[in-house]
Point group: C2
């Protein structure tokens, strides 16, 4: 049995529901005023959706933290085409998905998704896997912020092996690419899918470690940047960069596109959309500006944990 | 020869270049202040891109009117899969694509695209076709505006047969659907593709008739609504509705997705994006409001040319 307990949807579900509460409380506390609008929607055959969205806070212009538990007769074609062993199986999926859009342009947007799938068939063992990760999208780059984010990501991974962080960090860099811009969405973090190495218990512990490290990774950055003085030009740049987020989510993001095609609750799926977005035709930043530095220095895969301090001229003094 | 002259890319190109000038002048005149930023980019083997974008006008918050002539060794897979006779052919495509995003929430967004393709192979006759149309997206519904738009569309089609308008009107209604919202993008207009019935000459005349009727269809609406008094609530609703435009263009629009995948000039392809957009979580209009009337009365396929005046309580008096 050890390390290979029966995969339990209900245990993951209970954990994610508690985690949703905790993250919402943490974000509300950092905002100080706004509160999440909460819904509980019973799904078919014991399913549950618990979408939560906060808007118009002094710190968080928008944040969405959505739990869902769905059950289906068969997995979508997209899933069974690449994994034919899943065909003809019913499934259950539990997930927690979140995004934050801070008001201050110096505070980064964050995203986390953690999910667990079990595909069942009466005459066979269940097939199960975990997926998820978290990633950060700054509008103005701070080396210290990216380093703290990635250090926390590494801490979350380290009990599970030294290769875990670099592997899932690279997967994240590879996934969050706005292909038509040849540009990274942000500074990355962790991304993984189809995880079932080492048995359910260990994988579930890993998922918990990721989700448990989200607030410690993000809240210090939000706290540090939420009162950073900014001008209208900074704000306009933030609105402009949010367009990239929209482009990624609507053109490439698998979760979003799957949700739209599968006919899920649109307002939950598109809760990730930024509250206010600007597109400017053929805009490019002034040479040498902070805005240019974002694309040149931050929006490319970097090893954030071994930055050479001599090169890192913009690093803030501790 | 008559009605079956050799398909001529250069004739269509010359026509579209002149039409681009004329439409830009017409929109600039209606705006009164802003001017199109113009570029001329030579493409490979005689190709040409002439993207034009106007921003921040008092009337037009943004407008893009883009001409392009591209030549390629082979058509993309997407094209040859549905039409295997096109495989192994080189091609040329000329197109004029436009969109307007007026500032006033009572003035509708308009879109037109007209295009001509020729696919060639040394040992065979060329295969050619026209495609295009125009469609209207109001934020506040005016029956008179929709009627004028559709009457002009019918006028453009009528020399080519009585069945043309209803056929291409329906095609437009079927195409511009935001599937995940089960909602039309706007009040439609005309849409057609793969048109080559009746020979090149006749089809080219049809294309010209569509493009020639764009300004007469749109300018009167822009002129009539551009100074309509509006509140911040009207403006916010416009920004919110523009989100639907983004959702359609990035998730469904074939031209946009093809352009993004094919690696065209991103700023030209995404010039259709609205200048400023808002997403509000789980928002719905107040019962009985003008905002609700948009979805209930306007964003569904209707026969705009036989509206019953007794039913049409909101119709403006002439």
């Amino acid at each position: 049995m050890d390390g290979e307990k029966i995969p339990s949807v209900s245990r993951v579900r209970s954990y994610l529901l508690k985690k949703q509460d905790e993250i919402c409380r943490g974000l509300e506390a950092e905002d100080g005023e706004a509160r999440f609008q909460c819904l509980e929607l019973d799904g078919e055959r014991g399913g549950l959706a618990r979408p939560r969205c906060l808007e118009d806070g002094p710190v968080l212009e928008k944040a969405a933290v959505n739990f869902s538990h769905t059950r289906g007769e068969s997995l979508p074609k997209a899933a069974t085409e690449t994994r034919p062993e899943l065909a003809g199986r019913s499934f259950q999926a539990v997930s927690l998905s979140l995004i934050t859009h801070p008001r201050n342009p110096f505070a980064p947007t964050s995203h986390m998704n953690v999910r667990f799938f079990v595909a069942s068939r009466e005459d066979k063992d269940p097939i199960w896997w975990f997926g998820g990760g978290f990633d950060l999208t700054p509008y103005y780059g701070f080396e210290d912020d990216a380093r703290h984010w990635h250090e926390t990501a590494r801490t979350a991974c380290s009990p599970f092996g030294d290769d875990v962080y670099p592997r899932f960090k690279k997967w994240c860099d590879d996934y969050f690419v706005i292909k038509h811009r040849k540009e990274a969405r942000g500074v990355g973090g962790l991304f993984f899918d189809d995880l079932n190495e080492g048995g359910f218990e260990r994988c579930f512990q890993f998922l918990q470690s990721i989700a448990d490290h989200y607030l410690p990774a993000y809240l210090p950055l939000l706290s540090r940047r939420k009162n950073h003085p900014y001008s209208d030009a900074h704000r306009q740049f933030q609105l402009y960069r949010r367009g990239r987020y929209v482009e990624f989510n609507l053109v490439y993001d698998r979760g979003t596109l799957y949700g739209l095609q599968a006919g899920g609750r649109i307002e939950s799926i598109l809760a990730s959309m930024p509250p206010l977005v600007r597109w400017i035709y053929d805009w490019s930043p002034v040479a040498g500006s902070e805005e240019e530095r974002l694309s040149k220095d931050f929006l490319r895969p970097r090893d954030w944990l071994t930055i050479d301090d001599n090169v890192d001229v913009n690093r803030e003094k501790p």
